[in-house]
């Protein structure tokens, strides 16, 4: 059986190390926060200007001045700090954030990432995605291995406009974990989801990886 979204998020959470400052993208990556292991202390960054993002508020705690980058109401913690957007992206671009977990439309075997626009469709904008992939120390992509149309999303080259070149360090899909030891190197198969064979994975993957 392939991993479901929660299991994928739990697998991604195993990449978190004690003391990490982490930025989680919108969608499946936000689920990672539910799976942080006991004893692992993580500070979440929200690029609209907060470190130390807390959980959703109780109904009587809702504060319109306190939201995350997905525009969801959140809470603060004893460790929290607030800052401007310029400061927020200084810490992102300057390499001070340890890890970012993002969604993707396509990842290429050379680490290129496409996750912000489909030509011919209304483009909503890249938001902070290009800044995150350019500046954060390590980039993990959480995505379905294949699109709804059945196409492989780990590709030889990206066909969609790029978010960043040579930026992805690890891909966690519903079928497997692919990772590379350093940018510029080839992806290797780290782990198969339970019940997924290498043969099946190869049949559903376009981009090259070392088994």
């Amino acid at each position: 059986m392939a991993w479901n979204r929660d299991e994928q998020a739990a697998r991604a959470a195993r990449e978190l190390q004690d003391g990490f400052y982490v930025n989680l993208g919108i969608g499946m990556p936000t689920l990672v926060a539910n799976h942080i292991a006991p004893g692992i202390d993580i500070t979440l960054q929200s690029e609209n200007g907060m470190l130390g993002m807390g959980p959703f508020p109780y109904e009587d705690e809702i504060d319109a001045d306190l939201i995350n980058a997905g525009k969801q109401t959140i809470t603060e913690l004893r460790r929290s700090s607030y800052f401007s957007s310029a400061e927020s992206f200084a810490m992102i671009r300057g390499g001070h954030i340890d890890l970012s977990i993002l969604g993707a439309m396509e990842v290429a075997e050379n680490g290129d990432l496409a996750n912000w626009m489909i030509p011919g469709k209304m483009v909503k904008g890249m938001g902070g995605a290009m800044d995150l992939v350019a500046g954060v120390k390590r980039i993990i992509v959480l995505m379905e291995h294949n699109s709804k149309a059945g196409e492989a999303k780990f590709k030889t080259t990206c066909t969609l406009p790029l978010t960043g070149k040579n930026v992805v360090d690890m891909v966690i899909s519903d079928l497997c974990v692919l990772a590379r030891p350093a940018k510029g190197e080839a992806f290797r198969l780290v782990e198969l989801a339970p019940g997924v064979s290498l043969e099946e994975l190869r049949g559903k993957t376009e981009g090259a990886f070392e088994a």
Partner: protein, 236 residues
């Protein structure tokens, strides 16, 4: 000291708005937007505005109000996904749009306010964002040239101000507001509360008053929420 305090948003905009002007408008989503100034700018009928703002509001609120009335002809933003009228005007070719990566947008505004005409960044290298831009190598990496941004008028929203225009923002409503305050030829701050001189801790002021030319106290803030997410108290 010249009086920076105006009666309301309309009074604060008087004499500084003109057709074809460039504005900056603070906020992230609908959080920390200058909602009174946007409404007054709509009422002023100012046309052909270039608006620099991270987002474009929603239908019927925030910058969405100025899109409905076709007062904005160009947007410089990082994400505009929440606005149907925006989408319609853009697809019909009625609205110019320039996307910037969010941090590049913030840094262009910071640079503009700090007297820096351009800077090199690795954000967007090898993407559509880099097209037509100067590329320079530092060490073994390529960086693209981005330019500083300034505005004729910067519209910002703060929590508290003192009579000198020193500003304090609240929680994540800070976002783009303090950087935009530095990059307006005229910066107008709308605030929730005006406090006496000396009431703000000088060590805790986010925007020093030198950046603020005009201000007023806004009343009855709507502070709309886009995604109202909550948790429930489990019966233990």
């Amino acid at each position: 000291m010249p009086n920076k305090l105006y009666a309301d948003a309309a009074a604060a905009l008087e004499g500084v708005v003109f057709d074809g002007m460039t504005i900056m408008s603070g906020g992230f989503g609908l959080c920390g937007i200058p909602e009174k100034l946007i409404a007054a700018l709509k009422a002023s009928g100012t046309k052909n505005i270039t608006a620099i703002s991270n987002n474009a509001g929603v239908d019927g609120f925030g910058l969405g109000l100025l899109l409905e009335t076709r007062q904005i002809s160009k947007m410089i933003a990082s994400y505009v996904g929440e606005n149907k009228e925006f989408e319609r005007q853009y697809l019909a070719g009625e609205l110019q749009l320039e996307f910037n990566p969010q941090g590049t947008l913030a840094e262009r505004i910071r640079a503009g306010g700090a007297g820096i005409p351009g800077f090199y960044t690795k954000v967007g290298v090898g993407t559509l964002v880099a097209e037509g831009k100067d590329v320079k190598s530092f060490g073994d990496e390529g960086y693209i040239l981005e330019t500083g941004l300034v505005a004729d008028v910067a519209l910002v929203k703060a929590w508290k101000a003192d009579p000198y225009g020193n500003l304090v923002f609240r929680k994540t409503a800070r976002n783009f507001n303090p950087v935009m305050a530095t990059a307006g030829k005229v910066t107008i701050a709308e605030v929730e509360e005006l406090v006496e001189a000396g009431a703000l801790d000088p060590d805790a002021i986010h925007t020093p008053g030198v950046y603020v030319q005009r201000m007023f106290v806004g009343k009855d803030y709507e502070k709309r929420i886009e995604q109202r997410t909550v948790r429930t108290r489990d019966a233990a």
